[in-house]
């Protein structure tokens, strides 16, 4: 008999570790529809009939975050055969709060009392047998990290699922409240008494999502009863219910948990935290960690040693060399076989496309090995704690710092890093503005213009000003998006600072692997298809293969150049540059090299490095329009690889298009301002 068992629990309760232990590396990761929340499922290693689904970590089943809505909709509507609720034994009171809410749904469930090794190390004792009797659901002690108790846990979960064994309903509330809830459930009626009872509790809790599902004919009756409940609870039944749950938990804990020490005892984690979030040390340590993170992925002079590549750069180099050799071999073989020029070119361009995807994988891999370490160790929560004071002014979380910093290296891993943010809103806004951080591939464009048109200025400050422009536009965009696009989402900063733990190698590796695989598959198709499309447009016209000057792309450039008239660069070559820049931003230099008089590959390299000028672009650009063009390419749609990463992380085509649309609009407006104001001044 096949069955689905869902894992539910607080963030940081060891849920993902348990999921990895139960399913091994055979996991399927996707998105829940419309939100940036991971949907993970996998098959139980020891019984292929059992599918295990990892619900997002939540503290409650309230309707206030995307995670909570996803988790509770799944439990209430999809009804898994059983739920394993993972409880962190080291903070049992807060964890049992979610357990009580899952029990209220009357889904067959068992509790996995996790972190039993830490509980024992502290000298505490949890009586799981007694807890199980009092609570009315099986409670199995486990240590997910070492795999202890997992067999017993799964046996018990499968038993519960087979027998459809519902949890016992406990007397949490006083009689008055209980009567009101039952009265509401009666009014709601419906085929399923359990569901009505759950909905009734949610209605008393003033739950807007459930409130909307009440039929119009029953609204008044329900409202009258909810008002009664509120009146009996000094005007706030919602608070009363939360209070009742915690009172019940306090009683349970008193009977089942023996603590070695009373009150707050300083743990190893607390001692570590004293250093890491120390008033004076926190910021320098944070800066150091961020430097290492950035340098490991992008630095060509790792740890300030001249010419020593970082792990990310080193791996990327290997991938590039290996792929280059394969590509050379394949193309050579095809040529030798006497294939026509366009076929050779097509194969070459397809392999370029695959190479473009492959080239990003080492960066993603190295970044996520480090990111998962920071995340699982508990340091990431401290990043938010330390940086919140600054980032809240922009309506963002302190954790947005990491994707934005990485954005200066490459948008692809940076966008994927946005996944570690706490809320759906923060993740979406951060993904929309991260490409405004000027990535490494955009530097050659600035170098070309600086060397050619700003030769008599301080070129470094021209380039620096473009970087600053990106940061300023990102901040303004975050404020605008917060105020107008995501206005209904409330932001708060009530966040757990989890105990520091050494992550398991297995979780870190699995997480990094998932990211690499996800990018290769989901983003890979976007990158590959668009690279081939642009190749086709730039090498063909109606009479067949041709040079770029006569291609479809040149015709398109001519047809759309008027759009850029207000920005100061209504020239077909400038338009073509924008388009080839979407394959990779540094391509703009090569395109200009070709279209403005055909310079050699060596010259293009020198121009990209700012060592040589490309005087011919002076025909089209003056200083103002050059700056406007740089600003436009900084802010407009990032390269296809980054769009692929947005697509992968947003999990929705609609949101991907919104993000790209927002970036195009921003680029246009900013370039327009630059050109208009620039022409007034100069």
């Amino acid at each position: 008999m096949s069955m689905t068992i869902a894992l539910a629990g607080n963030p940081n309760c060891g849920k993902t570790t348990l999921f990895n232990e139960l399913t091994g590396s055979k996991q399927h990761v996707g998105n829940w529809p419309g939100v940036t929340v991971d949907k993970k499922d996998g098959v139980y290693k020891k019984n292929k009939e059992v599918v295990i689904l990892d619900l997002p970590g939540t503290y409650s089943l309230s309707p206030y975050s995307a995670e909570e809505i996803v988790a509770r909709d799944y439990i209430v509507k999809e009804k898994p055969d059983a739920v394993i609720n993972i409880v962190d034994g080291t903070s049992i009171e807060r964890n049992l709060y979610l357990s009580l809410q899952v029990m209220e749904t009357q889904i067959p469930m068992i509790i996995a009392m996790n972190m039993m090794d830490e509980v024992e190390a502290r000298g505490d004792k949890i009586d799981c047998v007694k807890l199980s009797e009092l609570l009315g659901v099986p409670v199995i002690p486990i240590t997910a990290r070492s795999g202890k108790g997992l067999k017993e846990l799964m046996d018990a979960a499968i038993e519960v699922a087979k027998n459809h064994q519902k949890p016992t309903q406990n007397d949490l509330f006083d009689k008055e409240l209980e009567d009101t809830i039952e009265a509401i459930a009666d009014v709601l009626g419906g085929d399923n008494a359990d569901e009505s009872y759950w909905e009734a509790i949610k209605l008393v809790e003033n739950d807007e999502v459930v409130g909307k599902t009440v039929p119009a004919s029953k609204k008044d009756a329900v409202k009258a009863l909810v008002d009664t409940a509120n009146k009996n609870a000094d005007g706030d039944a919602e608070a009363k219910i939360a209070d009742y749950r915690y009172q019940y938990i306090s009683k349970l804990v008193k009977q089942c948990v023996k603590k070695a020490h009373q009150g707050h005892v300083e743990t190893k984690s607390d001692k570590l935290d004293k250093v890491l979030t120390n008033r004076f040390l926190a910021l320098p340590i944070f800066a150091g960690v961020m430097y290492i993170l950035f340098a490991c992925v992008f630095s060509e002079n790792f740890m300030f040693i001249e010419g020593l590549p970082s792990p990310g750069v080193w791996l990327a180099g290997i991938v590039e060399t290996v792929w280059g050799a394969i590509q050379g071999g394949v193309v050579g073989a095809v040529e030798a076989a006497g294939a026509s020029a366009w076929a050779v070119d097509l194969i070459n361009s397809c392999m370029d496309g695959i190479g473009a995807v492959a080239g990003f994988l080492p960066l993603v891999l190295v970044l996520f090995l480090l990111m998962s370490f920071l995340e699982d160790s508990g340091y990431m929560a401290r990043v938010a704690f330390v940086m919140d004071r600054i980032f809240r002014h922009f309506g963002l979380s302190g954790r947005s710092f990491i994707p934005m910093l990485m954005g200066f290296g490459c948008s692809v891993p940076a966008l994927m890093a946005a996944r570690t943010l706490e809320s759906d809103k923060d993740r979406k806004i951060t993904m929309m503005i991260t490409p405004f951080m000027s990535c490494g591939a955009k530097l050659p464009i600035y170098a070309m213009f600086a060397a050619t048109l700003f030769a008599d200025h301080n070129q470094t400050s021209i380039i620096f000003s473009i970087y600053m422009l990106g940061i300023v536009v990102a901040i303004i965009s975050a404020l605008i998006l917060n105020k107008f696009v995501f206005k209904s989402d409330t932001s708060n900063f009530i966040m757990e600072l989890p105990t520091y733990r050494i992550p398991t190698l297995k979780s870190v590796l699995i997480h990094a692997w998932e990211k690499v695989k996800g990018f290769a598959v989901k983003a890979g198709t976007v990158i590959f298809a668009s690279t081939v499309l642009i190749w086709f447009l730039s090498s063909f016209n109606f009479s067949g293969m041709c040079d770029m000057e006569e291609s479809f792309l040149a015709s398109i450039g001519n047809a759309i150049k008027w759009i850029f008239l207000p920005l100061g660069f209504a020239d077909w070559r400038a338009s073509v540059g924008v388009v080839t820049g979407w394959i990779a931003k540094e391509n703009i230099v090569a395109t200009f090299g070709q279209l403005f008089g055909g310079v050699s590959d060596e010259a293009i390299e020198a121009i990209s490095a700012g060592e040589q000028a490309l005087p011919a672009i002076g025909e089209v650009f003056n200083k103002v329009s050059a700056y406007s063009y740089m600003a436009f390419n900084l802010l407009c749609m990032p390269c296809f690889a980054a769009v692929g990463a947005i697509r992968r992380e947003m999990g929705s085509l609609k949101w991907t298009l919104r993000a790209v649309g927002f970036q195009m609009l921003t680029a246009y407006i900013v370039a327009l301002i630059v050109n208009t104001v620039g022409n007034l001044i100069f």
């Binding site: 309230s62 608070a239 704690f385 004071r389 900063f493 009530i494 600072l497």
Partner: protein, 72 residues
């Protein structure tokens, strides 16, 4: 007195929560309910948010949120 006024190392008991709506719900979901003991552990390096210990775990919240929590 509110939680915001407590200094690191001080503790107190929650009497009520002033705000309403999602923020109140979130505060209560995280275990801050009337009668619970809270100890302030530290203030973030930039002066806000604060870190407290409640129900055996560490929680951080902004001062404006802490101001909504009445203590004695």
């Amino acid at each position: 007195m509110t939680l915001k006024e407590l200094k690191p190392g001080q503790q107190g008991t929650v009497t009520s929560i002033g705000t309403t709506g999602p923020m109140k719900r979130r505060i209560m979901d995280m275990g801050i309910t009337p009668g619970v003991e809270i100890k302030v552990i530290k203030v973030a390096p930039l002066g806000d948010p604060i870190e407290v210990n409640v129900r055996g775990y560490e929680l951080s919240l902004r001062k404006e949120e802490a101001q909504q929590i009445q203590m004695q």
